[in-house]
Subunit: 129 residues, 3 copies
C-alpha cells in the first residue's frame, strides 16, 4: 500500500498548495479575512480550493478501498490521473471558470472509479467471503 500512501499525501499536499494560492490571493486582491467574496479572481482561487476539498473527502477512502479490494498499483495510477486532472482544473478555472469542465471530469472520474470499484470489491467480499 506504500504507492497508495504516497499518492494520498501528494493529493493532500496539492490541496494545501491550492490553499496557499487562496492566502496569496487574499493579499494580492485585498480580500481581508473573514470575507471570501469581493474580488472575482480571489473567488476563483477560493472555489478551486473548496471544490478540491469536496473531491478529496471521497478520493481518500476511495483509493484505500480500491487498493485493498483490487490493486494498490492500479489505485495509485488512478490517483495520479486525479492529480493531473486537478492541476488542469485549477489552471483552467483561474483563467476562465467556464473552461473548468475538462479538468473537473479528469479528476472526478478517477474518484468515481475508485469509489464504485471499492463498493463492488466490498460487496463481492461479503458474498464470496
Amino acid at each position: 500500500m506504500a504507492y497508495v500512501d504516497i499518492v494520498t499525501v501528494l493529493a493532500v499536499l496539492q490541496f494545501i498548495l491550492f490553499g496557499f494560492h487562496v492566502g496569496r490571493a487574499r493579499g494580492r486582491f485585498g480580500v481581508k479575512a473573514p470575507a471570501t467574496t469581493g474580488n472575482e479572481i480571489f473567488e476563483r482561487f477560493f472555489r478551486i480550493q473548496q471544490n478540491t476539498l469536496e473531491l478529496l473527502v471521497g478520493f481518500i477512502p476511495g483509493i484505500y478501498l480500491f487498493g485493498r479490494y483490487f490493486s494498490p498499483l492500479w489505485a495509485a495510477a488512478l490517483g495520479v490521473i486525479y492529480l493531473v486532472g486537478r492541476q488542469i482544473y485549477a489552471a483552467a478555472y483561474v483563467l476562465d471558470p467556464g473552461k473548468r469542465s475538462l479538468g473537473y471530469g479528469l479528476s472526478f472520474l478517477p474518484v468515481a472509479v475508485l469509489l464504485i470499484g471499492g463498493l463492488i470489491g466490498a460487496v463481492w467480499h461479503l458474498i464470496h467471503g
Copy 2:
C-alpha cells in the same frame, strides 16, 4: 469490515449526489461560478452539500473506529441511520431551512455515537491492553 466499507462508500456517493444538485442548481437559477450566492434556492442546495461535507469528515473515521473497537455490523447500522437522516435533512432544507432540525439530528446523532464509541473503545484498549 466489508459492511463498514459499503456504508462508507454510500455516504460519499450521497455527498457527491448533493454536489450534483448544486451543479444543476447553478444552471437552473443562473448562479455562475465562482459565485455561491445570489439565489436563495441555490444557496440551500449549496448549504446541504457543505453541511454534509462537515459531517462526513467525522463520520468516516468514526465508523471505522467504532467498527474496529466494537462491532462492524453496529457501526454499519448507525451509518444507515446517518444516510436516512441526511436524506430527510436535504429534503426538508430545500423546502424550508427552518425545518432542517429533525434530519440534522438524525444524521448528527449517529456520527456522535460513532466518534464517542470509538474514543471509549480506544481508551479502553489502552488501559486493558
Copy 3:
C-alpha cells in the same frame, strides 16, 4: 495506534465544537440559514470552522501514516500540538482575524510534519522493503 485514534477523535470533536459555535452565532447575530454572510462576528466563527475542516482533511491521513511508518506516540504528540494550536487560532481569530497567524502556524506545522513524515516513510518503505 490507540493513542492516534484518541487524538483523531479529539480533533474531530474540536471541529464539531467549532461547528456548534457557528450554529450559536447564527442565532446570536441573526444570520438565518442558508446565508453565511451579513455579520462580521458570525463570519469569523464560520471561517474558523471552515479553515479547521481544510486542515482536518490532511491531519487525519497524516497522523495515521506518520503513526504507521514512524511512531504512534510521536504522531499523537504532534496531534496534541495541533489541538492546542487550533484552540489558540480560534480564540485569536474571533477577537481579531489579523492575529490568527500564531495559532495557524502552530496547527499547520504539525500537519505538515505528519504528512511529509508519512511521505518519507512510504518512499523509504518502497525502496528498502
